[in-house]
Amino acid sequence: MKTMKKLALLTFGLPLFFISCSSDDNNSGGNASGEYANGIFILNEGKFMSANTAEVSFLSENGILENDVFYGVNNSYLGDTAQSIGIEGDKLYILVNNSNTIKVVNRYTFELITTITTAIQSPRYIVFENGKGYVSNLGNPADSSDDYIAVIDLSSNQVTTTIPVSEGPEKMVEENGKLYVAHKGGWGVGNTISVIDLSSNTVSTTIPVADVPDGIDEKDGYLYVMCSGFSSWNSEVPSTQGGLFKIDMTTNEVDSSLSFAEGIYPTHLEIENNKLYYTISGDVFAVDLSATTLPTNALLSLNGMYNIYGFEVEDGKIYMSDPKDYNSNGEIFIYTTNGAFINSYEVGIAPNGFYFND
């Protein structure tokens, strides 16, 4: 999404290439009576600079897919470019990046409760702790020094304070009163993890990693960070190597790291059953948490896919999404963690994440 957005903005500064559309009369026929208690939400990012293509799909535990859930229930659109979802209590929070909003819905009925707009600018991800939601925001795109974490009081759905951080905060992990924030870099290239002390809401430590930390997860006191590396086509600016970092969360020091070969740009990171899963283009790799070398063979390959856009591993299953050309319906694939195909479904435009409601 980021690259695409940049491309769109900068190539023309204008939406000539990525403009979207539909007509107001052609409303979707979602199932408004649906119950969403048990199943998986798939977030469809939609087209950048389009007000009506971001949507949520729901795959029930019986394997029945419903698209356009948000419109079906609420008779309104999510907004422009849905980035991610967070679930806490009986609520589900949908971060709509280009609209600078967060839609709060009931996680079981999907009815809209409220829309948070104040102090939200270019929201990326949300995590929860102690009655609060922490939202990474890129802020004003024209200002590389105004990025922040917004703190939302979940009872009032208001931003109560903001914590300034360095450029490009994205995914986060909360552990023991500390918030670990991966700085992918926003419009630049980031290569750090900020550690925020939530008792004082200040950055206490900054941990250097490799360029573009894309995936982040925690297990048994260690933070695992997958850095994609920077892919440059400019002969004057060198490309950098990707790396997998293991950080001791008691000392906030890098415990060990593994480097990827030049020209390989790994993305995503999920930990399940003491195994770490990540992707490279259309390939999925799995490695033991204790391994000291990276695997050479893929666990499974989705041939012809440029980019596994959304990726999740849960309860012995791998969930992946193919955004195709970002201008037509995407597809999701479900495999076992042994690499066996289970099923695939056609969803909305640019599916970018899976969220389990159980």
């Binding site: 491309l7 007509s23 440029y306």
Partner: protein, 608 residues
């Protein structure tokens, strides 16, 4: 003198109505344009010229003018927003815009934003349908738009002031002065447009937010006849505009876009016996600045400086046979926040040949080859013929190979730009039938266009990269009807167009998005003495917005009516009013980019 007659012929061909002088001395009212190829080698294709009065009745943006007066489809992000054309089912960068004979499509984007050109700054605008890469280079695939300034060589001193004001605080103004004798010609003009552009969305509880724009254009054109053999011409234009981009949703971050164009063209023409020699040098400067937040000084930018040297030598074997050899050298220096600083050099040579075999039959052949180290450039050609079968029927045929070269962004974008690209190529053929029956004119055109090596940015892992992957097949039909009649003090004029377009990606078997199958427009005007009443009509069929042709997301077809009237006092000043979108229809050409409902404007044109 050959030169004079040939220039006079040019004025007729261009449909330029030269003002009658009050004195009774019959003089040759010579009008010169710089785009000589448009006159000499565009007779086997469809061309239409829009006059000054048609230009003034429309909004100052090229989008609106061409929307109502041609079959070109526009994807317009609200009034004043980014606007890209689809000419005969092609993509946005496959329409060339030609300023006084020079291709001015952006080197970074490969296209012209039709809402970043103020149409009031030109004396006439010609729409040429079909391939023209041999004559005009890259992008002339769907067709080309020619923005021309005329130089007059006869005694003349004329000042003209045009003012237009309408809803949403929309202003268009132009002042120009023309001073000429049979020896020299000077034209100076200044245009200014601005608007709050905060119109309500018809039937919705919303406004156009952050849509304001302003722009200024200054042009100076000069011609001087040194002697019977030599003359020089100089054309100069400065454009500076700022547009805010209207928001898709009210909570979004407001952005704006600033662009500057500076163009200078110097031409030296010599007539030596049967030879006509034209040496041209041009300097073009283009820059855009994109502000991701309106209140912040930070911007990203791209700018390209181009130097063009062109030499065109024409030889008239006889009155019926003409040969031109054109050599062209272009150097582009591009830099920007997101592209590598690069210098690109392109040389080309072309030959054009025209032969009037009989009074009723002519044919043209043209060839072009470029040399550059940036990409593999194909050999281009064009051939056509025109046959006047009888008084009421004539037929034109043209076939050509055309191209669109990769842009600076395609080649040098820092994350993904790929130096390993080829130009897009097009093979096309068209046939136009023209019927003239009494006061009616009817044209019927069929065309076929095969596009290969279409460039597309596709995601390759974390990056997007351009590739020459797509193939597109286009065919279409165009029908035009015109009627013109004067009975005593009454006059009536009718002009209508309809186009059917099928543009399909051969790989996916899906239609291209934002290309309507149907488009039509019409203008009707009725005049009684000095009073004119006119109507305009536009129909745009539904378009796909998704590459999988999921019709649920189509943009609906729409139709818009405008009505206007003006009155000319004492032959030198005209006062008019116009109502646009009379029926107050909600319509949009891009999703969530509503276009305005009913709105009013009034205008005054003063000639002193």
């Amino acid at each position: 003198m050959r030169f004079i007659t040939f220039l006079f012929g040019a004025s007729l061909l261009l449909g330029q109505s030269v003002l009658a002088q009050d004195n009774l001395v019959i003089e040759i009212q010579e009008v010169v344009i710089s785009d000589n190829l448009l006159k000499d080698y565009s007779q086997t294709q469809k061309t239409e010229t829009l006059s000054d009065s048609v230009i003034k009745r429309n909004s100052s943006f090229l989008t609106s003018l061409l929307n109502y007066n041609s079959l070109i489809y526009f994807k317009e992000n609200g009034i004043g927003g980014a606007s890209s054309p689809s000419f005969r089912g092609t993509t946005a960068s496959q329409t060339a815009v030609i300023w006084n004979g020079i291709n001015i499509n952006s080197q970074t984007l490969g296209q012209t934003d039709f809402n970043a050109v103020n149409s009031l700054s030109f004396d006439n605008i010609t729409i040429k349908s079909g391939g023209g890469s041999v004559l005009y280079g890259s992008s002339a695939i769907g067709g080309s738009i020619h923005l021309n300034n005329d130089l007059y060589f006869y005694d003349r001193f004329e000042n003209e002031l045009f003012l237009k004001y309408g809803n949403f605080n929309t202003f268009d103004g132009r002042f120009q002065t023309k001073i000429a004798s049979n020896k020299y010609s000077l034209q100076l003009g200044f245009s200014r447009s601005f608007s709050d552009n905060d119109y309500d969305w018809v039937g919705k509880d919303r406004k156009n937010i952050n849509g304001q724009f302003e722009n200024s254009t200054f042009n100076a054109d000069f011609g001087y006849k040194i002697d019977d053999i030599n003359s020089i011409k100089f054309y100069s234009l400065y454009f500076n505009g700022e547009r805010h981009f209207s928001l898709v949703l009210p909570t979004e971050t407001p952005t704006k876009y600033h662009n500057t164009d500076i163009r200078n063209l110097l031409e030296w023409t010599s007539l030596i016996g049967r030879f006509t020699s034209r040496a041209k040098v041009a300097h073009l400067f283009e820059e855009y600045r994109y502000f991701p937040h309106v209140d912040n000084q930070f911007y990203t930018f791209g700018k390209v400086e181009s130097f063009i040297a062109k030499y065109d030598l024409a030889y008239d074997f006889s009155d019926r046979i003409k040969l031109n050899a054109v050599f062209d050298y272009t150097q582009n220096n591009g830099q920007g926040s997101d592209i590598h600083s690069e210098k690109r050099q392109i040389g080309s040579g072309s030959l054009m040949f025209k032969h009037l075999l009989t009074d009723k039959f002519l044919y043209e052949v043209a060839l072009r080859k470029e040399i550059t180290n940036n990409y593999e450039s194909p050999f281009l050609y064009s051939m056509g013929m025109k046959y006047e079968v009888n008084d009421f029927y004539s037929v034109k045929f043209n076939a050509s190979k055309n191209f669109r070269i990769p842009t600076f962004n395609d080649l040098y974008w820092v994350t993904g730009g790929s130096a390993d690209l080829n130009p897009e190529t097009s093979y096309q053929a068209e046939i136009t039938n023209e019927f003239t029956i009494k006061d009616f004119g009817i044209t019927l055109t069929g065309y076929y266009n095969q596009l290969e090596d279409m460039l597309r940015w596709i995601p390759t892992g974390p990056m997007w990269e351009p590739e020459n992957t797509e193939e597109v097949e286009i065919f279409g039909l165009e029908a035009g009807l015109s009627y013109s009649k004067i009975i005593g003090k009454h006059s009536i004029n009718l002009n209508g167009n309809y186009g059917y377009t099928s543009s399909k990606n051969k790989k996916t078997d899906k239609y291209l998005i934002y290309v309507p199958a149907h488009k039509g427009n019409a203008r009707v005007s009725y005049g009684y003495q000095n009073l004119n009443i006119y109507g305009e009509f536009l129909y745009v069929g539904e378009v796909y917005t998704r590459s999988d042709n999921n019709s649920r997301y189509n943009i609906d077809a729409y139709q818009v009516f405008n009505l206007g009237t003006d009155y000319t006092f004492k032959t030198n000043y005209t006062l008019g009013v116009k109502v646009q979108n009379v029926l107050n229809t909600y319509y949009e050409s891009v999703e969530n980019r509503a276009l305005p409902g009913r709105n009013f404007m009034m205008y005054l044109n003063l000639k002193i």
